[in-house]
Symmetry: C2
Subunit: 354 residues, 2 copies
DNA sequence: GCGCCGGTTGTGATCGCTAACATATTCGCT
DNA sequence: AGCGAATATGTTAGCGATCACAACCGGCGC
């Protein structure tokens, strides 16, 4: 008799008994339109050589059944998942969040999906793990928003199997990368303060291990050295306003300090707060400059002079680079660098005449 | 005699003549381990009834080849993509970004991938589009972080095909939802100001169309009415500090205003700035309360009294609810509600004795 | 010694799609 | 008309996994 397990076919017309309403598949559309499944596939993929009448019939059938192609089946045969991965460290921060946003938008216009993986910690094993996860999912490429120096090593190991692009600070590794010129930005900020007449500029750095921290720190030091000025000891925070506040309390009563360049705006906010509590006027007694130009910076007390960084653009560019890589345009080896732009507001002013 | 070399497989010699290094598939592992592909599958999926010796051989082969199962193939046959979708409006904002983060973390521990889709605009067509996109990708469920009132309608339409959970403000629709009790939070904030002796409390609302805006507005009004107090006209912004600043300039010179409840912290920041510029002391002349308790709020000038909202937790809970729904525990119809918690800092103080 | 049983492994079929090739059908031009 | 080149459409064979079922194995009871 009829063995079990092969009645799948026919089910013409009204779905009778089956309570389950099976999702329509390509064959269903084909039958309804009176063509072969291949023709349906052609219509779906915009292949040439389909008579317009036929195309219309197929389209109508698709609409009628509300048919949607099964992406897994397609991915299986084409070996393309139409998915890109993003690994990011703390997507709660304004920077990473904006980059993610930029990436997603760009990916969508290129007709890719975006899958995210955040890291729990910033050691290289964790990065490796996230990348692996994404790879297992079958992403075609990966953007890494995790500018830890330690991450770079882990990254270069996998890049052979799946294209990887990093975004953030410039690295000295050989990995395709879109970055903001943090050094130049830091130099500009520091020079600005020097030009304002400050004897030297103090620096509140970001956490160790981040490429941004390192580059901004380097830029600051460079500017001081170029000016032949004393390089004071640096403090460092973890990007948070809280850490900026703590650093601020430590330096607030140091008469030596007349200008501080903070590695990001949030820490600058905390610093501003501490200075205010200590009764030190900004910019009257102390000038402060931040980095990033988050949307709130203009509303700080006082409005923050800072270095603008267009995170969205950074994300977009990173995706662009990744897509090129996917298209085989790789090995051009041209890292994209975006230049800094200072935003002058009120937190930095001339040094008081001794 | 018959040695260890059974008659099974002429094994060996993965002669890679071709330059192409094909990714290993299950059959390769099977051959190397001297078993059938099905046994490999069993090992991979932890099926019972596999002799431990066999399992070891398979595992070794997997390691040797660095084999990774093809997720598309698996998804095709199991009809499960192990992927969840998140649609969010502006993942640049602190709230959405944190929720996304919470969702991703929770999803990962449940062994799901997360695919994101941001909206360009907040009309319902756009929401529909994003959900469709995700659906086409084959996600098993969707979390919507897009608390626009208009979105709800669009959402309820698709929920039949794929489980959808919304997160954010409470809605009056019948959709599973994890929400923060915005009304209660707004009431508490308003009452706090009233208790401080203010005759009434002004409100700077969020943009129209957002459920958060509506609920916080409702809570504020409720508190005023309960106190039998005049309900002043409301202003409204778009969540940004800029819009708070603009609103602030309008009300700064109105002597009637002694207390303002802002629908979020960013707008409160802008308001604070405008007040400061106008020379009005906070909380001396005007008290201000925000909403969200973003990490920076403690460092505003003055530190902001606000209503705390744990976005990460919200995201986690939303995912939990979605997973339940996927597991078929649905129809419990118990929306999760998280209660408000006021954070008292320095921006709100007693009304001046008339 | 036979049959039954449960643990272990192998053999097809199948998921829904696209690629490659085979087969009509139409058209243009001598 | 006629014949080859396009232009349309259909047929078959996988992609790489899981699932259902069959086959094998050794031990046990009678």
């Amino acid at each position: 008799m009829i063995g079990p397990g092969h009645q799948r076919g026919l089910c013409v017309g009204v779905e009778a008994v089956g309570t389950e309403v099976r999702q329509p598949v390509m064959a269903d559309v084909a039958k309804l339109a009176g063509v072969s499944h291949q023709t349906v596939s052609r219509v779906l993929n915009g292949a040439p050589h389909v008579r317009s009448g036929t195309r219309e019939r197929v389209l109508a059938a698709i609409r009628e059944l509300d048919y949607r192609p099964n992406s897994a089946a397609r991915a299986l045969v084409t070996r393309r998942s139409q998915t890109l991965g993003v690994v990011s460290f703390d997507s709660t921060l304004y920077g990473p969040a904006s980059m993610l946003d930029g990436i997603e938008r760009a990916a969508r216009t290129a007709d890719y999906f975006v899958s995210v993986a955040s890291l729990r910690s910033l050691d290289s094993r964790s990065v490796q793990e996230a990348v692996d996860r994404l790879r297992d999912q079958g992403v075609e490429g990966i953007v890494v928003i995790a500018p830890q120096i330690s991450a770079v090593g882990a990254l270069s190991r996998v890049s052979s199997s799946v294209p990887v692009v990093a975004v953030g600070a410039g690295s000295r590794s050989r990995m395709p990368m879109v970055s903001f010129d943090n050094r130049a930005g830091a130099e500009a900020a520091t020079r600005h303060l020097l030009d304002l007449g400050h004897r030297t500029v103090h620096h509140l750095a970001g956490p160790a291990g981040w490429m941004e921290s390192r580059d901004r720190h380097d830029g600051w030091r460079q500017a001081l050295e170029d000016a032949g000025v004393r390089v004071p000891p640096v403090g460092s925070g973890d990007w948070s306003a809280r850490s900026g506040y703590q650093a601020g309390r430590r330096i607030a009563h140091d008469p030596e300090v007349t200008a501080v360049f903070c590695a990001n705006d949030h820490m600058a906010l905390g610093l501003l707060r501490a200075l205010h509590e200590a009764g030190r006027a900004v910019p009257g007694e102390i000038s402060v400059i931040g980095f990033d130009d988050i949307p709130e910076a203009a509303y700080f007390a006082p409005p923050l002079t800072t270095v603008r960084q267009d995170f969205g653009e950074l994300g977009r560019r990173a995706l662009e680079l990744l897509l090129q890589e996917l298209a085989g345009v790789s090995h051009t080896r041209d890292d994209v660098q975006i230049s800094p732009e200072m935003v002058l507001r009120r937190s930095a002013g001339p040094a008081r005449r001794g």
